[in-house]
């Protein structure tokens, strides 16, 4: 993997004919925090890259023409895939947490099961915005602290929870995004969390 230069679709294993249900989980976090690495470590395909475009009314008014200026923004994101069984396939999206991306959240990620917020403790502030937006959208999430070798302080999970002002209900987990077993644990932590929430909802319904 990785060394092949061929981009033929035949390099990818297709889904089985019975595949019928696509599911999504989104990995968000600051630049270089390990989103693509995490997606790659658990994906059955080499992560693919794609983009969406957005046309937005610009801030300024075009003075000569007197018409509102529009700007076109392109946001790129990558994704991987996990076949859960013959019928269900989970897509994992690595999404940059920056501001312009959130304009497209509903168009791209409506109906997502939940999100993983990936944190580098040397740059914790990079994920504040993402956490704020997820809470705003009501998207359930877990926080995964990606441990980098050069991180001397190694804040504990409790310290990170405090720094991010995370409520007790938000699960936290340490990971090494490069390691498949570790990435898998992160996804399981998220889905466990979703399951607990769903169970609580069903029992009160």
């Amino acid at each position: 993997m990785g060394s092949t230069t061929s981009e033929l679709p035949s390099q990818r294993t297709p889904l089985t004919a019975a595949a019928e249900t696509g599911l999504k989980i989104v990995v968000v976090g600051g630049f270089g925090v390990g989103k693509t690495t995490l997606v790659r470590s658990v994906s059955e395909i080499r992560p693919l890259n794609t983009e969406e475009v957005m046309t937005q009314a610009g801030a300024g008014i075009d003075e000569t023409a007197g018409v509102e200026r529009k700007t076109t923004t392109t946001v790129a994101f990558d994704f991987g895939r996990i076949s859960l069984n013959d019928r269900m396939v989970l897509y994992l999206f690595g999404a940059p947490g920056q501001e312009r991306f959130w304009f497209l959240w509903d168009r791209l990620f409506a109906g997502t099961l939940g999100a993983v917020v990936l944190v580098d403790t040397r740059r914790m502030e990079d994920c504040w915005y993402a956490i704020d937006r997820l809470e705003h959208h009501g998207t359930p999430f877990v926080v995964a602290v990606n441990r980098f070798d050069g991180d001397e302080k190694r804040f504990s999970l409790d310290e990170v929870r405090q720094a991010l002002a995370l409520g007790e209900h938000v699960p936290m987990i340490e990971c090494d995004a490069r390691v498949r077993a570790s990435g898998k644990e992160v996804l399981i932590a998220l889905v466990d969390h979703l399951y607990t929430r769903a169970l609580a909802k069903e029992s009160t319904a």
Binding site: P9, P14, L15, T16, A17, A19, E20, T21, G22, L23, K24, V42, L48, N49, T50, E51, E52, V53, T55, K70, T72, T74, F79, R81, I82, S83, L84, N85, M88, V89, L90, Y91, F93, R107, L108, F109, A110, G111, L113, R180, K184, L187, I188, V191, D192, L194, Y195, A198, L199, K201, E202
Partner: protein, 117 residues
């Protein structure tokens, strides 16, 4: 001049979509698309690519990545093919259920799949 599809490479995308900008909003990123026929002579090349790719179920987002086109443009193309009956769409779970499964049962299946990774 503004083109109806105001995107990265306007001319190419204008051609690809026939100048329309209304994407089919019912097509989710993870809607699985399946070909219902083989490409026929004279079809536009993007349609041919899609029909070839979707001999096996293929998610909208994978089609976009393969064709190297923005999601919006792919939704437009797929909307056309759907309307012509040339492809069919397997939509993702509705808000809370798949085939009547409660949310917890769905999540249990997901967990099971992940544990087996």
């Amino acid at each position: 001049m503004r083109k109806p599809v105001d995107l990265g490479d306007p001319d190419r995308l204008y051609m690809v979509t026939g100048g329309r900008s209304e994407a089919d909003a019912s097509l989710d990123l993870v809607t699985l698309i399946v070909s219902e026929c083989e490409p026929s002579p004279g079809m536009q090349s993007e349609h041919v690519r899609i029909l070839e790719l979707c001999r096996h179920p293929t998610a909208v987002v994978e089609i976009a990545a393969e064709l190297k086109l923005p999601i919006t443009v792919v939704r437009i193309l797929l909307g056309d093919l759907c309307a012509l009956g040339k492809v069919s769409a397997r939509h993702p779970r509705a808000a809370a259920s798949v085939a009547g499964l409660p949310e917890t049962a769905l999540l249990q299946e997901v967990l099971h799949g992940l544990h087996n990774l």
